[in-house]
Symmetry: D3
Subunit: 244 residues, 6 copies
Amino acid sequence: MRILVANANTTEAITALCAAAARAAAGPGTEILPATPRFGPVVISSRAENIVAGHALLELLAIHAGKVDGVLLAVSHDTALEAARQLMPCPVVGMTEAACLTACLAGGRFGLVTFGGTETYRERIAQHGLSGRLAGLAGLEATPQDAVRDPERVARLLHGAIGRLAAEGSDSVVLGGAALAGMAPRLQPDAPVPLLDGIACGVRLLEMLVALGLPKPALGSFAAPQGREVGGIDPALAALFRGS
Amino acid sequence: MRILVANANTTEAITALCAAAARAAAGPGTEILPATPRFGPVVISSRAENIVAGHALLELLAIHAGKVDGVLLAVSHDTALEAARQLMPCPVVGMTEAACLTACLAGGRFGLVTFGGTETYRERIAQHGLSGRLAGLAGLEATPQDAVRDPERVARLLHGAIGRLAAEGSDSVVLGGAALAGMAPRLQPDAPVPLLDGIACGVRLLEMLVALGLPKPALGSFAAPQGREVGGIDPALAALFRGS
Amino acid sequence: MRILVANANTTEAITALCAAAARAAAGPGTEILPATPRFGPVVISSRAENIVAGHALLELLAIHAGKVDGVLLAVSHDTALEAARQLMPCPVVGMTEAACLTACLAGGRFGLVTFGGTETYRERIAQHGLSGRLAGLAGLEATPQDAVRDPERVARLLHGAIGRLAAEGSDSVVLGGAALAGMAPRLQPDAPVPLLDGIACGVRLLEMLVALGLPKPALGSFAAPQGREVGGIDPALAALFRGS
Amino acid sequence: MRILVANANTTEAITALCAAAARAAAGPGTEILPATPRFGPVVISSRAENIVAGHALLELLAIHAGKVDGVLLAVSHDTALEAARQLMPCPVVGMTEAACLTACLAGGRFGLVTFGGTETYRERIAQHGLSGRLAGLAGLEATPQDAVRDPERVARLLHGAIGRLAAEGSDSVVLGGAALAGMAPRLQPDAPVPLLDGIACGVRLLEMLVALGLPKPALGSFAAPQGREVGGIDPALAALFRGS
Amino acid sequence: MRILVANANTTEAITALCAAAARAAAGPGTEILPATPRFGPVVISSRAENIVAGHALLELLAIHAGKVDGVLLAVSHDTALEAARQLMPCPVVGMTEAACLTACLAGGRFGLVTFGGTETYRERIAQHGLSGRLAGLAGLEATPQDAVRDPERVARLLHGAIGRLAAEGSDSVVLGGAALAGMAPRLQPDAPVPLLDGIACGVRLLEMLVALGLPKPALGSFAAPQGREVGGIDPALAALFRGS
Amino acid sequence: MRILVANANTTEAITALCAAAARAAAGPGTEILPATPRFGPVVISSRAENIVAGHALLELLAIHAGKVDGVLLAVSHDTALEAARQLMPCPVVGMTEAACLTACLAGGRFGLVTFGGTETYRERIAQHGLSGRLAGLAGLEATPQDAVRDPERVARLLHGAIGRLAAEGSDSVVLGGAALAGMAPRLQPDAPVPLLDGIACGVRLLEMLVALGLPKPALGSFAAPQGREVGGIDPALAALFRGS
């Protein structure tokens, strides 16, 4: 099975980090194909960047449409997830979506910790219909870059936030942010509740969805586009819209 | 005051229709500037088209940043609204958002009628936090093109839907879809409840916001981007991301 | 256009304060008519006072019915708003409603700061269907009278509360309480997020509603009363109930 | 124990009907004192009438303050309930509130049937925080007066509505409207689910509250008013506001 | 009237405590029958214990079916409440349910204080559909046993928690936990808001329900079981399932 | 990997049906162990049966604790799911929970079709926090036994219900009821949206959870019981409660 791990920013190092985490989590027989968009934000840290990244991501996916068995959006905002799900002929999963749904399976309510502001995560989880399972959000006073530059400080901040979230009712904690991909194994031993890595959860959920082999809906807003004209965009993406 | 009426699809006729409706609604001294994106869907009728249109719309807005006093998104999906609001130095209003908030001011709960599927409207209204004010949704078995080709049939369908929505608890009805811009005056006389045209509401709300002169927030997810690197995009948009 | 600025308590100084704020916010051609009820609470600070004030306010409005183009309820509890909306032949807007809906147009979630207890504001915002947009409430340890007696202390308290609300996720802050009318310009320069004055927002929203010219609904609970007998009340109000 | 059964409209026949239903439901040792307001609507059938009735009802209650052990609001809109609860030195219960809470004790979700429009009942139940227990609302095409003039037709309409509500998930049905007081025994034998009469439920809940002897809160928005000046109103009501 | 006070754990001392509180609260003519399950947890302090206790409780109730007029579940988790309500031919009330609904009648929002963790109470209140009336939860750092061993310390903790809940918006406070049964009179004098004892509230609500004499529903998920085969259980319980 | 497929009723045929569906869905290397409780309902079709089944199920699980890698609750009510999750040292998944979460990954909102009444499913989905993703419920006028006796009629009913749910906004449909296990492949070809079989989804989600290897929480209401005394129950279950 071939799973596309699609970053939504243009930083190859993040793509590589996510791909490594995906490979570490994947089952035997699962091949991980990393991919980085042609254009868009270096890092997505705001609403507006996320919109441009959405287009870049759909273009990236379109290039791989029909050549992969599943797509993992390696971006913690689950950028353009619903659109990708409609557009692609294979299952698509967002990394934060994956972690949150896995947290539900672990039981109770979950927390989420991420770099910087948390409002857009609160909104995204509400859009996933999971507000009732969310116990708390914690924003680290650090950037994704700090995780590379000073991993010890970031780890300390993470442990503090995880502990507080657990004490305030989180039965598990989602590590939000592609820059944290692969950190769960290191952090878990000292954490009082399970930690959820969106990349690991996402790869495993995709393996499950591919195995289930659900058809695409023929009705509703997730049915594949057919005969839609979209101009001035990449030919592969335009072809998907036409349904040809 | 200069208000940009920004279509999010590439159909000039829709832009013109919305601009005409905007001019008809605008107060004295308000200048309407219509604009159409350089690329993207001919008509937005699905989740995926809406994502591409989001990028096209931000590019279009960036070109006009600093040259207009307010922006009306002339697209019933309120495409990229929050991003545009973050990005632009002036107020931005979405046409469906405008109609829904005006419906709140008219009192009670509102319904929405549109062409085709209604799920994405249900979601959008939920994202606006207004689900509690939504009494019902009605999807016409017709396309925006039908409104041009067979306006009488569409008017009959609209009247039926409006009547049913009112009977089931809608105190007002939002006409959803840019293709319905300007139709309210024709439909209103036979409707039992007020009809809300997003273009008319949006222009008037923008006049109001421009008059209030609220500053942009310095904190939070609507603060203007600063120093953000976004590659492979239109220079005007890239400049807005850099904050220069 | 003539806008009635109707206080719901009997303190003329508050009426005058609100009228001044309304005039400062109004567009050219808008005439502000201040009005104070004949009976009722000197200041509304509890549930029971608000009920008596509701009757007093409807009486006050009835006296002006047909003589004004719009009504702004200059009372932060949006006292009797839905009833006034049903009863009057012109648009009616509540000052807190106005500020909250304008906050929605500014983007994200809003906070509200007021004198004393906040529970009734929490309830009122829930009745407006806007709980999902409310990020936080702050009650100042001060009375409306303190705002007159010691404005510097109240300003300090306000700044502290606004800063905390913004830090905890409010993208804008509503100044709740008629006694704060007109204070936004003084407080805004030091505030990290936009401040919303219900009087200013309300006047502008009324100008917009008057311009739109929406009809009254013929169906539902906001349709004008017709043939209703209400005894022992002011003749003007009784006449409105009879629909004559 | 003396329970005031306070109508909120001025129709003595309704007061008498409710008083009879209250006496039929009351325990031994409970004395029912019927009371009708001095002014206000003959029948409350709209938002605006409900506001005037709120004042009239508070005045009526104030006259009896200290002379009764509990107050039942014999009005299906639970008019001014929270204000009365704050103001009075004894427990106060609304008839629809009473029926809905009793329905909760019967298990599952409840429906409500009433004369005419249902939107204001939907809102009232939401204000009681009970929307999640509400399975459906049914509005009869009849008026309270019809219940007197043509009780057989109204009984047929009621049975039809009760049956539909039960089939659609209501585990019990609230009879909404003071004009239905005392009808439950006649309707119950043919109904598939329990029927709840707000007067009967309310009297019994008041007996329970009086027996419990809960103190009034010293904090918050239900604490008794103290030192509040309210002018131009009945001396008994003004005295309650002053707390003297 | 005979009311079964059914403990769900096997600790006779708790049964006795609850029975004493029930007798203290009961009206004249109400007989309290205490009962303790044959098997199950000594104390219920987790999700899994609650499930076993549910079965033990239904068995206990079945033995008394037809011999009592009402059942009070003397267990703060409202264990198996809905099932007992379906199964028994008489009214059944849970002690926390009873306290929460009585809190609603006292007005505004309530808090709940209990021993240890609060998450399962948050969930139970949500299942009762009362989340919107819940202002806060407080978990004491103490066990039910501490209430016996060191009542003064527990009283101090309780007072602190009650004060904080009231300051943060609770208009009343539910004492959650059977081990607190009967403590309200001692704690109330120093509390700023009414305290609700589930046993006292439950007994009085049962008296009210018995007086109302609501029939069991013939439709829906609370209709009595009929012809259901359940093997390997107590004969009395099996007989109830068969409906014989 | 060994997965226990635990029925919660005592009908071996249902256990066998679910085990077959589980084997058909399982990945290579996954061993399916079917198990049936020692006591309890023949079929669970009411609230009270579900409580007894909860105890029977925990006993069944306890016997297998430590001998299996994951547990699938093969009962559509997700009976005792949270308790089992707390109690067992391995992941536990409920079949309806599994189908609903997988439906979320398929996108949009889901419907659920089952035999008979739907209220308890509505409640269960609310407890899972997924009400916002639920588009509709359909109850077939048929029993699980009919699915065996007259599969063609049941298939016709199912197709009708699935079609209606899809037309009313369900992007996928959960087949609720263990008696429908394994039917999805037969029904899918004629269905307009994906059909979700809880057994298939559950097995695959368990494989994923086992692969992830999340630790049990050390804090909160899902932490394993320790030192809990539960009397009169199966020794294996008692031992789990003691944590020994």
